[in-house]
């Protein structure tokens, strides 16, 4: 039981961060606006969660220009993918063990 809870990563306690990771797990890259639309949060809120995930090196930013407008795209790093998958299986195990 103890080890299962250890696998639950602190960074994923927030539902917004979990949502960001879920969306990036199945999309190669997503820009800020797409994430905002899926998660239904304010700019500031989303930006701070993205920064937190960046700090953990779970996601990375790719800045490009679309018709001379800056376009910020996010994608999941390998370690981010690993941690996210570990988090999901920890969640599953936890639920199974409590049944």
């Amino acid at each position: 039981m103890k080890t299962i809870i250890d696998d639950l990563h602190k960074a994923f306690e927030s539902r917004v961060r979990l949502g960001i990771m879920a969306a990036l797990a199945v999309n190669d890259t997503l820009d800020f606006n797409a994430l905002k639309e899926y998660l239904d949060v304010t700019d500031g809120n989303l930006a701070s969660h993205l920064k937190a995930l960046e700090k953990e090196a779970f996601i990375e930013v790719k800045k490009t220009f679309v018709k001379s407008k800056p376009n910020t795209r996010y994608f999941m790093t390998k370690s981010g993918k690993k941690s996210f998958e570990a988090h999901i299986s920890a969640l599953e195990n936890l639920i199974r063990s409590q049944k």
Binding site: I5, E13, R15, L18, G19, M21, A22, A23, A25, V26, N27, L30, A34, E37, Y38, I88, L91, E92, L94, I95, Q98
Partner: protein, 208 residues
């Protein structure tokens, strides 16, 4: 520490996010039903106008000279059916998206359209080439085949059933290219009846 209920909700939300960010789920069963009705109507008009007027069976290889006027009208008829079906689908999707608060033009719908369009355009060009070479008999089977391939391809980005619908259309297209004289019949079944069956199934499954 969170409760078990919250963990379950976390998982549910992860799944829903993964689905929402990759799949376009604002398609409606009614679009399928309407597309089927247009197709049946079109096939009926086509049969009345062109099959009964020509001495030779329309769907056998005829020289382009003899049938070109008819074939042109036939293309126009097919185009009207296509525009009506797509127009209805876009309108109904737009209405459904508005109701569920989703946007109709997002990453998921873009991907759906691109994956649908590439096989469809390839098929359209192929049909024009067949026409220019006078191989009229293969046109109906080819439209079924490429439509099926397009649906199979696009099925990854919307309801899974679209994939199976695509496979059925591919099988019908292959059958139609073997039984070459019955193009219009297969066409009416594949684009008409199958759309209606699919539409009713989707309506009962997801919109009831």
């Amino acid at each position: 520490m969170k409760t078990e209920q919250e963990y379950i909700r976390d998982l549910t939300e992860i799944r829903s996010m993964m689905e929402r960010s990759t799949k376009f789920l604002s398609l409606t069963g009614w679009s399928g039903i309407m597309a089927g009705l247009y197709a049946l109507e079109g096939a009926y008009i086509g049969y009345k106008l062109f099959y009964l007027n020509t001495d030779t069976a329309f769907y056998h290889t005829i020289d382009a000279q003899q049938g070109s006027g008819n074939v042109l009208n036939f293309f126009l008829l097919a185009l009207v059916v296509l525009v009506l079906a797509i127009g209805t689908a876009i309108f109904l999707s737009w209405r459904k998206a508005k109701k569920t608060g989703e946007r109709i033009w997002n990453a998921a719908s873009r991907r759906l359209l691109i994956n649908l369009a590439i096989p469809l355009i390839a098929g359209g060009v192929f049909v024009l080439i067949l026409f220019s070479k006078g191989m009229i008999g293969l046109i109906a089977p080819v439209t079924l085949l490429f439509y099926g391939l397009a649906l199979l391809n696009a099925g990854k980005f919307t309801y899974e059933e679209v994939k199976y619908f695509g496979i059925i259309e591919i099988v019908l297209g292959l059958l139609a290219s073997y039984f070459i004289g019955y193009g219009l019949l297969f066409w009416a079944f594949g684009f008409g009846i199958m759309h209606i069956v699919y539409g009713i199934y989707m309506h009962l499954k997801y919109e009831k």
